[in-house]
Symmetry: C2
Amino acid sequence: MKRVLLTLSFDGTAYHGWQVQENAVTVQETLQNGLESLLGVRPSVTGCSRTDAGVHARQFCCHLDCDDAIPKEAFLRGLNSILPKDIAVTDYREVASDFHARYHCKGKNYRYKMYVGAIHDPFLKNYALRLDQPLDLERCQQFCAGLVGTHDFAPFSSAGRSVTDTVRTVSACNIIENKRGFELSVSADGFLYNMVRIIVGTAIAVSQGRRSPNCAKEIFALGKRELAGETAPPQGLYLNQVFYDLR
Amino acid sequence: MKRVLLTLSFDGTAYHGWQVQENAVTVQETLQNGLESLLGVRPSVTGCSRTDAGVHARQFCCHLDCDDAIPKEAFLRGLNSILPKDIAVTDYREVASDFHARYHCKGKNYRYKMYVGAIHDPFLKNYALRLDQPLDLERCQQFCAGLVGTHDFAPFSSAGRSVTDTVRTVSACNIIENKRGFELSVSADGFLYNMVRIIVGTAIAVSQGRRSPNCAKEIFALGKRELAGETAPPQGLYLNQVFYDLR
């Protein structure tokens, strides 16, 4: 047996997130089905994090234990030919037998895509959030800068998942303007439930003048969820990079 | 009553083409449902052409007769708020009472998107055709040039739709290379069933050396469907522009 770290990319539109659940198709279950066809046994697969329904991943990592028999190239080619075309396995790497995709993850980068238009773009329905008006970049950047550092991000998370330690370190947070609109990028050592989507909702509220560009300081100090903005919808969110220290 | 020309854009992934059919959701039926909600009556809507299941439109035109009461801006805003987000109505224009979206159409431009990659891109599953290898642009351009002009395009069409006159005039046909891959563009006064998809399939066969770059001449001369290439899949195809002579 060997432990393998797989890197995936997936369009989350058709899935109820990563994590296996009853009565809903998930990426984890679909991957396990594909691996069972390839390997003849159904391996247990452990992901780097959960993702919500409709959220996408340009890079998602998971580990599994499997037989030594299949070489890397054949494994990737075989698995990709079996998987539905909205999931791709882009890398395969042997790791130490105690490697863990979630516990050993050093950090992640998420992106959130927004486009500006008076009328919705049919081709972006599942891939970006429509904004009526451009963002006020200066106000948004000031807000983003206030998130960087080590803080208790509890007010930037939704109830519903029990985590005891809600302190996280955001190493970078920026909004850039591109051809179609805007993209928020945030890197941290870990993320709470809905944290990126609430950061985006708050950035939009800051842009629209419903929150102050300095609001992060007050939100951290008072720790109240209602001081932050709404939870932005899932379809604009992409898990973009997953960081590990691998030899 | 006034006759109105509507311009739409739609992501065809979820639809069985434009034309109403039993037991399948179509763009025409979805649009008529939206119009019925807006207008209180169900108008008959006539499209500029049919489209196949999974085919997209950046621009699609249709006409209908409706009440004078609703001004343009309110019509567009109202209809767009009712329609599902994979269909958008982008323009509304009053036309003469004898205007006909299909009969008065002077021509159309279609685009077909291809990308190059050893592994499929999950985000392009419904939006482009994957190629293992880049196209041979020189061979493809030579093939495309051979299509321009007035020809009997019967060998570039699929059986299944009864059209008596199969002569069409292609005014332009090109393949361009872009960041992700290639895009074929073809303009004509009219298109036969599957004509663009068979042109694309033949261009790929030409690129791979399975057909000669000059094959169009022979295909037109002999008129045999089997001399052309395969029918490329629908998801890369976009109706891009519809041309009318409007005062």
